[in-house]
């Protein structure tokens, strides 16, 4: 009798487990508007998905549901190759027809016959700042006669992500030799398979014989301590951009000891470029402040901070309590605007993607709004434009505030009839199957009184952000000195603590707690 009871329990439990097991949230199962998963793989560190949206003009890598640096689909690599016919400064992105890698077929949930073959433009703000680490390096730039095209810079990037940062560097610095160190083989495979520009760069050599790009699957700590030290030529720039799937920096890559090991493989003028998510005065100040203080303690005493602006911010309207990407630049040589005047002059005159025309990389879509806030996500523009070709002409253009970062160009209308029409087109598209699912907020016409058409030009956005960030970073209030105070050794001599982040911790191997401060 007991045995039968036991068997019954076991059978019920196993059946329930097998049948009802919870299907976890998977980014790759989500098709959303014209967003579709290009491919998905699991690794020991994360759950990795490539998402692609044609109208929103992006190919982005997601770790679980967190977005890595986004790549713009346009201009495609083909567009860049065609442009190189007229623009010799793009020849370094043109492959032999035979050597050209093709993008790998999409995964089972990829619905299109076309495959993305993205170029080098990004929709992620902090990625656009990658060139400053080279431009501020006087040794490299003097050797190159001030010309980025001739800068034979040796770069290490810790943490690959989508690979767009590498593409950005390769676009602006044809002679760069880039080493990427990432702990996750699957991330590197995903990039190689679905981002052909990078797959091609991996096969290319510089005139000096160095590879243009190589991927290393190692923990950065090990690579810096052993492999990098054995290399003949020191690194001119080190980009620290390793994040876990939980959006924290791995704690062992955020300590004084690691930073001194980094300093040990840098050339005398070498620069560390660290992407640190944190704030200047708010809760997350301990992360950014701790990073800065730890860099200085590691001997990289000259330090400058570039806070990345958020949309709506501008010179004079930066919110210091807001958590954001901060680009922390540090070096043994001066990097501040007064002592490194030449470097800052180069920043001032640098134009991101100089060969690309306005309008060559556009995201377009429609959003619904009530009087004050958006209550929908972006609905693909091509869909609406095909059904209502005169719509854009009947909308009013919204003037832009030139002093604030405002990527999108906006047209709007409050005409109820027009809004209803657009709404019906969206619903029909779902019925017909041309749209996988209505984006958030489009299921219900609701109280929306305003329809906006938003167009973002990513080439202009890159230039605008670069200009604004450099302009704002000139403000000495955001410098390392103002944020985390003088060097440890000189602290005793400073009577009043005049710096902003007074309680910045020192991250050491003994107390490597960047991740805990981030909570």
């Amino acid at each position: 009798m007991r045995l039968i009871l036991a068997i019954a329990i076991a059978v019920i439990a196993i059946t329930c487990g097998a049948v009802f097991q919870y299907k976890p949230y998977h980014t790759y199962e989500i098709a959303y508007g014209d967003q579709h998963p290009l491919n998905h793989r699991e690794s020991a560190y994360s759950s990795i998905t490539w998402m692609v949206s044609d109208d929103d003009n992006f190919q982005q890598m997601k770790f679980f549901d967190r977005v890595e640096g986004g790549i713009c689909l346009r201009p495609t690599w083909d567009d860049l190759i065609a442009l190189a016919q007229k623009e010799p400064s793009l020849r370094h992105l043109v492959p032999d027809a035979a050597a050209r890698p093709k993008p790998m077929r999409g995964g089972p949930d990829w619905p299109h016959t076309w495959l993305p073959d993205a170029g080098t433009v990004t929709n992620s703000p902090y990625i656009r700042l990658f060139p400053i680490g080279v431009l501020l390096n006087n040794d490299v730039m003097t050797r190159a006669g001030g010309d980025p095209q001739k800068a034979d810079v040796k770069i290490m990037v810790v943490g690959l992500g989508s690979g767009i940062g590498i593409a950005n560097l390769a676009h602006h610095f044809p002679l760069a030799s880039i080493t990427v160190v990432d702990i996750d083989q699957v991330v590197e495979d995903m990039v190689r398979d679905h981002y052909p520009v990078l797959a091609w760069l991996l096969t290319q050599k510089l005139p000096s014989g160095e590879p243009r790009l190589r991927f290393e699957v190692r923990d950065a700590r090990q690579f810096v301590r052993y492999d990098a030290k054995r290399e003949k030529r020191p690194y001119d720039m080190l980009i620290l951009d390793a994040y876990t799937s939980g959006s924290t920096i791995p704690p062992h890559l955020m300590t004084v000891e690691f930073f001194s090991e980094c300093a040990g493989i840098l050339s005398p003028d070498g620069i560390v470029f660290a992407n640190v998510i944190g704030s200047l005065t708010g809760d997350k100040r301990l992360v950014s402040g701790g990073a800065m203080r730890s860099f200085r303690a590691a001997g990289l005493t000259h330090l400058w901070n570039f806070p990345i602006l958020l949309p709506g911010e501008g010179p004079g309207t930066l919110k210091p309590e807001q958590s954001r990407n901060n680009i922390v630049i540090c070096s043994r040589k001066p990097v501040d605007p007064r002592q490194n005047e030449a470097g800052w002059e180069r920043l001032k005159h640098f134009e991101p993607y100089p060969q690309l025309a306005r309008g060559s990389s556009i995201s377009a879509g429609y959003v619904l709004a009530n009087e004050t806030v958006y209550n929908s996500a972006l609905l693909p523009a091509s869909l609406i434009d095909a059904a209502l070709p005169t719509l854009k002409g009947r909308m009013l253009s919204q003037p832009r505030d030139g002093n604030k970062l405002n990527y999108a160009q906006v047209w709007f209308t409050k005409d109820r009839e027009l809004i209803d029409q657009v709404f019906r087109v969206a619903q029909e598209a779902v019925t017909k199957g041309t749209l996988s699912e209505l984006p958030k907020g489009w299921k219900d016409r609701g109280a929306a009184v305003n329809l906006e058409r938003r167009e973002t030009d990513w080439v202009l956005a890159a230039r605008e952000l670069f200009r604004f960030v450099v302009q704002i970073a000139r403000d000495p209030n955001y410098s390392g000195e103002a944020l985390v105070g003088p060097l440890e050794a000189e602290r005793a001599a400073v009577r009043a603590p005049t710096w902003t982040i007074k309680d910045a911790p020192l991250f050491t191997d003994q107390m490597p707690n960047a991740d805990i401060f981030n909570n």
Partner: protein
């Protein structure tokens, strides 16, 4: 044969215990991230449940003279294993943002999810000690061997789940399959009686479960 069966039980339970610990950390990662807090919480819960399990298992061992109780304990663990993939994630998501963002949140969630199954597996060792016990003169070597074999199971559970299972098998599948194995093991123990042979007390127990020893 009898000892082999008991050692196999020990190694299987040891395997499942540590495999659940490794997979459990991955299981809660989408909600709680992968920080040191997650590992601290997981390890706390498993060690704590071992501690409670040892006490409870010891009490049961003193009272029982066959492996029937062992069978029910393992079956109970198996049932939890089978059901974690069902209720685990909705339960965690249901805890809400205030728990997800608090530092103690992951400790709370790990307790809810893993305390009971690992507690049941923790009960297995003391009961097995009673069953392998053959006399006071051998108590050291028999329990020593039993612990060693259980620990080999632990080691295998860690290594196999990390190096093999994570890469090739979805977490839920692994946990359900381990649950099925535990259920089957529990059923075997319920079905095939093994009698404690150690001369622990002079008290004789009326032997109602007449039958051969396994």
């Amino acid at each position: 044969m009898r000892l082999t069966a008991l050692y196999l039980t020990s190694i299987t339970c040891g395997f499942c215990m540590m495999a659940l610990e490794i997979l459990g950390a991955r299981f809660i990662q989408p909600v709680f991230g992968s920080s040191i807090d997650v590992w601290a919480a997981i390890i706390t819960v498993f060690i704590l449940s071992l501690s409670i399990g040892y006490v409870a298992g010891g009490r049961i061992a003193d009272r029982s003279h066959t492996n029937a109780a062992l069978g029910w304990v393992i079956l109970g663990a198996g049932v939890f294993f089978c059901l974690i993939p069902w209720y685990g994630m909705p339960l965690m998501i249901g805890l809400g943002e205030s728990v997800h963002t608090a530092r103690w949140g992951v400790l709370f969630a790990a307790t809810l999810l893993f305390l009971l199954p690992s507690l049941l597996l923790g009960m297995v060792s003391p009961i097995l000690v009673k069953l392998v016990f053959t006399g006071a003169d051998k108590v050291g070597s028999t329990t020593g061997t039993l612990y060693a074999i259980g620990s080999v199971g632990n080691v295998l559970g860690i290594l196999v789940s990390d190096y093999v299972l994570l890469a090739y098998v979805p977490i839920n599948t692994t946990i359900v399959v381990m649950g099925a194995v535990l259920c089957a093991l529990g059923l075997l123990h319920v079905a095939r009686p093994i009698h404690a042979t150690g001369h622990v007390t002079e008290k004789t127990v009326p032997d109602s479960d007449a039958g051969a020893t396994a």
